[in-house]
């Protein structure tokens, strides 16, 4: 793969592109970890957010509020540098970035999903109550199936935000597309000037994000069409 690239477009650029594409896989992995981990956490936070007990609801609201109003960069600093320094422990950039992005994602998705559940008409809850359905049955069979159609498009759309968000993880030494690219851009090698490297990186991010953005748009239009 690397050799093919170098044969094709020459030594420095071929190597650079190979390294950038190679590094991009870590961007993908980190995004997936954040999305899956954050998604699982968001399920519990969303359930807590709509629980029939006020203290649980308040705790979930507090969590969402706290982490939605914290910049991602600060979460990364706290997880990667702040807490390890304060409590004297070692943490790999991988773990730190995963934790920070997972928290960030969970707060955001929990808010999106709560909104989706709120968009289900109150008459649906009342009909379920009148039929004497238990709370869990109501959620599983009536509310969630309807909420999914409101929440799906913004959820996929947020994946794009996560992918872009991972680019901040270079700040705590996470070896992704961003860090490798920056390193090349700063390297005194002919053909690796910033005006060459950064557009290549932009194209790579575009290739990761655009299909998802497109997919989200399609879902949105489908949902709109169904709503009419």
């Amino acid at each position: 793969m690397k050799e093919v690239l170098i044969d094709l477009i020459g030594a420095p650029l071929g190597t650079i592109i190979f390294q950038l594409v190679f590094a991009a896989q870590f961007t993908v992995y980190l995004s997936l970890i954040a999305f899956i981990g954050g998604g699982i956490a968001a399920i519990f936070i969303t359930l807590a957010r709509i629980a029939p007990y006020r203290p649980i609801r308040s705790a979930a609201t507090g969590y969402i509020w706290l982490f939605q109003s914290t910049p991602l960069l600060m979460l990364l600093f706290l997880c990667g540098l702040g807490f390890p320094h304060l409590f004297q422990f070692q943490i790999s950039p991988w773990t730190a970035a995963s934790v920070a992005l997972t928290i960030f994602t969970s707060a955001y998705l929990a808010e999106v999903w709560r909104g989706a559940i709120g968009a289900v008409e109150t008459g649906q809850w009342e009909a379920g109550d009148a039929l004497n359905l238990r709370y869990v049955v109501m959620l599983r069979r009536i509310i969630i199936p309807q909420a999914i159609k409101f929440g799906l498009a913004p959820t996929i759309g947020f994946l794009v935000q996560i992918i872009k968000g991972t680019s901040l993880a270079y700040i705590i030494g996470f070896q992704d597309l961003m860090l490798v690219g920056k390193r090349w851009a700063n390297a005194p090698v002919d053909g690796s000037e910033p005006f060459i490297i950064f557009p290549i990186m932009a194209v790579l991010y575009f290739c990761l994000c655009y299909p998802l953005a497109l997919f989200a748009r399609q879902l949105e239009q489908k949902a709109l069409a169904r709503g009419q």
Binding site: E121, G123, Q124, E126, A127, D129, A130, L131, N132, L133, R134, V137, R141, I142, P145, Q146
Partner: protein
Amino acid sequence: MPIVSMEAVQKWYGDYHALRDLDFSVEQGERVVICGPSGSGKSTLIRCINGLEMCDAGSIVVNGIELTKRSESVAKIRSVVGMVFQQFNLFPHLSALENCTLALTEELGLTQSQADEKAMQYLSRVRIADQATKRPAQLSGGQQQRVAIARALCLEPQLMLFDEPTSALDPEMISEVLETMVSLAEDGMSMICVTHELGFAREVAHRIIFMDEGALVEDRDPVGFFERPDNPRTKKFLSKILR
């Protein structure tokens, strides 16, 4: 034993006094129609009976069970009370049949085939068995409301509550829903029905109640209600609606 008995019931929404010291009872097999201007508390009254709203004072006893904030009490009462809403409130992602079987399989432990059989029986009863596999959006308003009635009947309630069941319907669909309700009445179902269909009231009600500003203003047999109402507010309301 009355199926519903309410004593000194009060309900506030914030500062707004929605039910004012209400005494109200309905006997087994009795059919009561409630009418009154919009905002007079008719929905609030019937929603208090199955715990969709909780009253702030007074006592409500349904089928011998006292309604309290405890979920067991609410569940026991809901298991004998069926409700039909103005906006149908069918589950849009489920077929007519699935709307009816959901509570049977999930809550009453019937197998799918037992539930299907029972649901089809009630869908036939409201004359809509041929549409059983359709989603609500594929049905007309009148058909949807009949499915909603069948859905409530599947749980074999002792009492049916109707909250303006025909108000959201196009005029040509009102009669099919009213006919279904009349046939329920003929079977001896206890019913409390908020409606302004006074022809229906005259035909099936044992008592007609006029509500205004959160209070029961008039509570009469149909003949008395229409021909010699006691209260001037009832007269005024009737003159408007019977124009």
